[in-house]
Each structure stands twice: as structure tokens, then as C-alpha cells.
Symmetry: C2
Subunit: 236 residues, 2 copies
DNA sequence: TGGACGCTGCTTACATACAAGACCTGCCAC
DNA sequence: GTGGCAGGTCTTGTATGTAAGCAGCGTCCA
């Protein structure tokens, strides 16, 4: 249906698995057998295997040769690495914001924030809007293409945020901070925008740290040991 | 021989291809047929194909379905993206340098600079030392693990540096700048170190820009067209 | 009771066979 | 000469077969 059966099976499998890992539908430690996945997804082992290799390169999956593949544990070190990277990139971008802002991007960002205010906002929808918002901020400075590198590096950070979400008092505060950042940018006060963005990103990270201190078992160090093999039947 | 026939064929093929692409031994536009590579490297198509997929994800190779795979052209936009990223990361790291520096890393950096001064320094050897030096700077701040992300993103930047090298007056100036950076760090003058590092990175980039203006054909935009298929027989 | 050994069943790693599409080349008609 | 069509040959994408290795469990022996 629609336009494209032109997409390769591998792309579809890769994106499916990646989404399920990031949303914790496939939880850390879950077993990812090539055979099982191939059968469940209705393809052969080849595209599944290639997807697992790519996810392994991203750090979302660990492949133990001749033993098995597993969703990687949420590694506190990798979370911190991603936090450092995104903060460095997003703040550096603000230094390059031009005097006159692209009105299309501004309009898009405003529309995005509108949707973040909608009542009963689904949490996955919020994350999608959050991603688009931060990507948009990068585009304002002409560094939009750097976002893909950040995205590829922050898988562990994203999973950590979702882990902590059950214990969070909603995302309203983050939405407020988004508004403050955009307002500062539009008013031309880049220095204030930088400060707002930094404290926003730090708030997100502090939230994660709080979760980690409360539930350290969720952040079990990835020490190279093979997780116990449990069958996780979450394939529709 | 040695310790490990434990390394997988895929790792070997991936690293071999990556090195040859980065050193321009496999020049932009070169054809990378899975069959030819497999025969030349003495393995089957499978590990070759998996390597090409990974290199494609890194942007070093373009895969045209059912048409062919080619070393990607050096894309000026991607060079600029990598420059932005590395500058953001390396400068942000300096903000987190602790008061007392790790003496082991300092010793390693000093030894590294010694080697950069050796007369008759091979250019590839210089690049290796340069990589290790910048990685070491990151490690001083505790953000050493972020280097791998930078490495994965700066393939186009590295190739552009090598393209321009034929027209450069040696690397002595860069070595001097390395010394200035390390001296500033050791003396505790982080502000000065930041300024030195920034101007160093900008100098590298300006060098590339000069090359691009002189020889724009080397930076032909990667417009999605398939390069002409030339057979490149550089397999020992 | 405890430890070692071997079998069984699983896994990934690699090799190969098959499918489907794109490009090029040469022929043919006009 | 020129445009178009057809076929052959290349490509990557996918499926499947084969190999090799780890783990876990049961058994056997001390």
C-alpha cells in the first residue's frame, strides 16, 4: 500500500528493532535470536543479522559470537557520554545562530511546542516532539546534519529517560523549559538561550541520575557477561 | 601466528577497507564490487557485504541497490559537519579538565609530541600520532570515550586533510600548535588552552578550505549519481 | 555429595545459491 | 544517422546450507 515497497527488508527490520529497543518494548537483556526474529518478522536471517550488526555498532545490542545476541543493558557510562556529547553539540550550535532566523523553522518550532501542550499527551508522542524540537534548534544554526550523529550516540540516554519516566511527575516542566529556550532565541538573547538550554539538558540528566540512585538494578553495568536467556514474545 | 585467529573475518575486512578508504588508497568514486572484494580478500561475500554496510552507515561508502557500491566522494558539507562536531566536543571537554591531571596521560602526550618532532616523519605516522594526541586530550577530561563518536563522524574530514597534503608546507606548524596546547593545559591555563585548541582546529580546516578552492574537482558534490565504474586493482 | 565428562541443542559466522533489477551494448528499423 | 528495443551481464538483496563453538544438563564415577 502507499508509495514504497521499494524500502529494503533490512531497513524495515532495522528500524523496527531499533524502535522496540529504544521504547523498552524489547527490554535490556532480552534475547534476540536471528532465527526467532527472522521467523517472527517473516524474513530470512540475512536482513535480521545485518540489522543486529548495525544495532551492535550503535551499542544497543551486544552480540556474543556463537552464543547469542541480547539487548544491551543501560550503561550509566554510555548515558553520561551521550549527555556530554549532546550538550557540547547543542550549545556549540547556539554560538553559530545567525542574526535573522529562518522563519520556516521558527514556525515549525512554535507549532511543535503547541502540540507539546496538548492535554493527555502520549509519552512516546512527547519524545518524538522533543526530538524534533532539539533537531530544529540545531537547524537554526545551520548544523542540522550533526543531529544524526547525536541520535546515533544517545540510544542509552533515551532508554534511561524512559526507565525513569514511571517515577516522574510528568513532562510539563520540560515543556516550559522548551518555551523558555525558544523565546530567548527568538528575542535574540543567545546568552540567555544558552543558559536555558544547558539547565534544561542538565535537568533531564539529573532526572536520570535520580532514577539510577533509586533503582540501580536498572542500570546494571554491562560487564560482558551473557544475560540469562529468557524468551520474550512481543511480536505481533 | 600470535595470539588471535579469534578476530572475525568481518572485523579484518572492515578495518582493511576503512583504512584504504581513509588513506585514499581507495580513492573517491572507486568501485567496490562485493564479488571482486571477496575474491581479492579471500573470503566470501558475506563479511565483505557486512563491512560495506557499516562503511555506508559511516558515510565512507555509497551503496546503490542493484547497481554497485562506491567509495563516497569527499563531501564539503560532511567535512564541515565533522569540523563542527569535533570542535564542539574537544572544546567542551576542556571545560571539564580537573585541577590535577592524570600523570600517565600527560607522560603519554609528551612522548607523543616527541615522536611528532622526529625528522623524516612519515605522513601516515603523523596522522596516527595526531589522532592519539587529540584522543589523549579528551581523556584528560574524562571524556575519552566520546572520541569514538568523533572518529566515526570525521571520515570525510580526514580524507580532505590527506587530499590537501600534497600542497601543504609540512606539518611542523601543527606540531608547534600541539605543543602550545599541551603546555597551556599543563600550566593550568585552561582558557589559553581552549584558545590554542580552537585556533589549531580552525587552522586545519582553513588548510582544507584552501585546497578546496584550488582543486574543487576533488570535492565534487555527492549528488547521488553513480560514479563511472573503473576497475581499481590495488589489492596486494 | 561433588566433580568431571560428554552429549545435545542452541547460537552466530561464513559460504553459497537464487532472485530481481539496472546498465550497457549491439542490432535493427526508420 | 538516429532512436528504440532486446538480451546479456553485471550488480546488490535475500534465502538457505554448512561449519564451528559455547552452554547447560544429565550421567557416571570417586
Amino acid at each position: 500500500m502507499g508509495q514504497a515497497s521499494t524500502r529494503s527488508n533490512r531497513s524495515v527490520v532495522y528500524e523496527t528493532l531499533r524502535r522496540k529497543v529504544l521504547t523498552l518494548e524489547l527490554p535490556p537483556g532480552a534475547s534476540l535470536s536471528e532465527n526467532e526474529l527472522a521467523a517472527a518478522l517473516g524474513v530470512s536471517r540475512t536482513p535480521v543479522r545485518e540489522s543486529l550488526i548495525l544495532l551492535g555498532e550503535e551499542g544497543l545490542v551486544r552480540v556474543f559470537p556463537k552464543v547469542g545476541s541480547f539487548v544491551s543493558r543501560v550503561d550509566a557510562e554510555r548515558v553520561a557520554d551521550a549527555q556530554f556529547l549532546r550538550e557540547a553539540v547543542e550549545l556549540a550550535a547556539f554560538d553559530d545562530i545567525p542574526g535573522t532566523l529562518d522563519p520556516d523553522v521558527i514556525a515549525e518550532l512554535r507549532a511543535n511546542l503547541e502540540q507539546q501542550r496538548e492535554p493527555g499527551l502520549d509519552i512516546e508522542r512527547f519524545f518524538a516532539l522533543d526530538e524534533a524540537f532539539h533537531h530544529g534548534l540545531l537547524r537554526l544554526s545551520g548544523h542540522g546534519r550533526a543531529w544524526s550523529t547525536v541520535v546515533a550516540a544517545k540510544g542509552h540516554l533515551d532508554r534511561a529517560r524512559r526507565l525513569g519516566l514511571h517515577e516522574t511527575n510528568g513532562v510539563g516542566r520540560f515543556v516550559d523549559e522548551h518555551h523558555a529556550i525558544l523565546d530567548a532565541v527568538v528575542s535574540g538573547d543567545i546568552s540567555s538561550a544558552r543558559a536555558s538550554l544547558r539547565s534544561h539538558l542538565r535537568a533531564v540528566f539529573d532526572d536520570i541520575e535520580k532514577t539510577r540512585q533509586r533503582s540501580p538494578e536498572l542500570f546494571a553495568a554491562d560487564d560482558g557477561t551473557v544475560p540469562v536467556r529468557r524468551s520474550i514474545a512481543v511480536w505481533e
